[in-house]
Symmetry: C2
DNA sequence: CGATCTTACGGGATTCGTAAACATA
DNA sequence: TATGTTTACGAATCCCGTAAGATCG
């Protein structure tokens, strides 16, 4: 004996209307079909739910006790299903994202803001952690999407999109290099530099670029946070080399920045997810926006 | 697009087992059929619920959020349906009963006790009120069954069973009438009587019996409650005429009682219900027991 | 290659709507 | 008699199980 939500809904509706005919109209059902459904429900429960004669329909005592309980269950179900359908539209829900801190403080807030202009009901949970932890959180499915720098060699993770984060040189306003369209390693090699912590991917790229150019960087200062580095530039300790994704937030009147012409040493950025896992619609939708906003690297799209 | 409890149950089961094949076995379903059901559910919700490859099945984030909610709804539903099926068996539930006070304090408790020996989980709500109120409560469906004395002339009420409550004479032990098998109006007419309140049906019957016999009752005392009347008998104020249904409770060593041979004036007792209304199974079952225990009057069974 | 999910298809059950029968005020 | 519920029945749909196909480890 099998219950059917349609039967329950039919029961509630007849109970509300007190009439098979009117309830049938409300349910887009012929009245005989409704009668049969109610009979099936009564058979299934083993209880008569309505006392019906040709003039009136009224709930049995058991039916009267049952109606509110089933009504609540049905409305709960409808609520859950409704919420889920909302989530399915992708215009509601939570996007869970793990990002490199440098990326999180750069262009990402703008992209999120733009996304939320279109989908105001979407909220974000952002974990700004180091690249290895980004990968870990993504693998464990504690986040839907990850943005990492550098290479990826985990079969459990899948690259959705690649982009490059070109390096920029930040120097005080009025600096002699401010007139150039871009600067080269050779341009800045003679200057004292504000470098990032040797543990960071940015520093690794800078070192590689200098090595490739056969030059030795002159360390004017080292910082762990990019905002600190910017402060040191402002204080005159040297010029900094920072990723383009962080430029917007550090753009100030007293500073200028120029593209470092060392494209080969741009930071490789990858948007990743757990491979073989379906993204929630919101996150899927946000991933599409990221892929549209971030210029695709000419590299392959596969891990 | 229609939801089906079977689909929900299938979803929960697959989520629990993490495998279509094993879940199908648990659901007594072939595995392809289960796949189709899950697909239908996913289509209906517009959301992918499982990430499945040939080696493993795991919940999507949305599926993971949905599973406990739907699980709770399903278990609520199962609980309600289970309870209802219990009620349908008639071995559980509440019997709501309105009874004449004189009847309620007499044989009814014994019948209820016997019923509960068979159906220990059944509880009773008993309203012991005057006959007109019994009819009213029954008509308003505040009780399932009513036990009234006298005639019934309400088309909304239906007589399930009729029985008679013969009158008994209660007198002190050692009284000279104690040797008789039964007593007549003529036997007691010379004695002072403990009569019930003129508003009671018992008194009406006694008065009618004396009238028919062409005798005049000698009022030794009047009481509203039968227990009071019995006390007055014990105190020697006279002999009482009380309905047989109340004899058991007032049977004492110091008193005796004998049937009053005035059968035509026995109190007519009717078991009634609201006509056209189905009784809850418990009450139906209890009504059957009453009809078995109370000897049927030779009268008609219809109103 | 083996285990598992997916697709395809035919048989059986279920459900619907129309129409006729039935019941009560 | 009029209104509204129940029964009957043919058509369409849905669901299941078997069998074959596809996929990943």
């Amino acid at each position: 004996m099998n219950l059917d939500v349609r039967q329950l809904r039919a029961f509630i509706t007849v109970a509300q209307f007190g009439s098979f005919t009117r309830a049938a109209g409300c349910l887009n059902l012929s009245q005989p079909a409704l009668t049969v459904q109610i009979q099936k429900l009564e058979d299934g429960l083993g209880v008569r739910l309505f006392d019906r004669n040709t003039r009136s329909v009224s709930l049995t005592r058991i039916g009267r006790e049952l109606a509110p309980q089933l009504g609540r269950i049905l409305s709960d179900l409808d609520a859950v299903v409704g919420d889920t359908r909302q989530l399915a539209q992708g215009q509601q829900g939570v996007v869970r994202l793990a990002v490199l801190p440098s990326y999180a403080s750069g262009i990402l807030p703008e992209i999120i803001a733009a996304f939320r202009r279109t989908n105001p009901q979407v909220s974000f949970v952002i974990r700004d952690v180091i690249a290895s932890r980004v990968a870990e959180l993504t693998r464990q499915e504690q986040v839907d999407l990850g943005i990492i720098g550098g290479a990826l060699s985990d079969p459990d993770l899948e690259v959705l999109h690649r982009t490059q984060d070109h390096m920029h040189v930040v120097f005080p306003d009025g600096h002699k290099l401010g007139n150039l369209d871009f600067v080269t390693i050779d341009d800045i090699a003679p200057l004292p530099l504000v470098l990032m912590d040797p543990a960071t991917s940015v520093r690794a790229i800078v070192d590689a670029a200098f090595l490739a150019a056969g030059r030795q960087p002159i360390v004017g200062a080292e910082a762990t946070y990019m905002s600190t580095a910017v402060g040191m530039v402002r204080a005159g300790l040297g010029v900094a080399i920072l990723p383009g994704s962080a430029m917007e937030v550090h753009a100030e009147q007293t500073l200028r920045s120029r593209l470092l012409n060392a494209a080969n040493f741009a930071r490789q950025i990858a948007l990743i997810k757990r491979s073989g896992r379906t993204l929630p619609p919101v996150s899927e939708s946000f991933a599409l926006m990221l892929m549209k906003e971030l210029p695709a690297a000419q590299g392959v799209d596969t891990a």
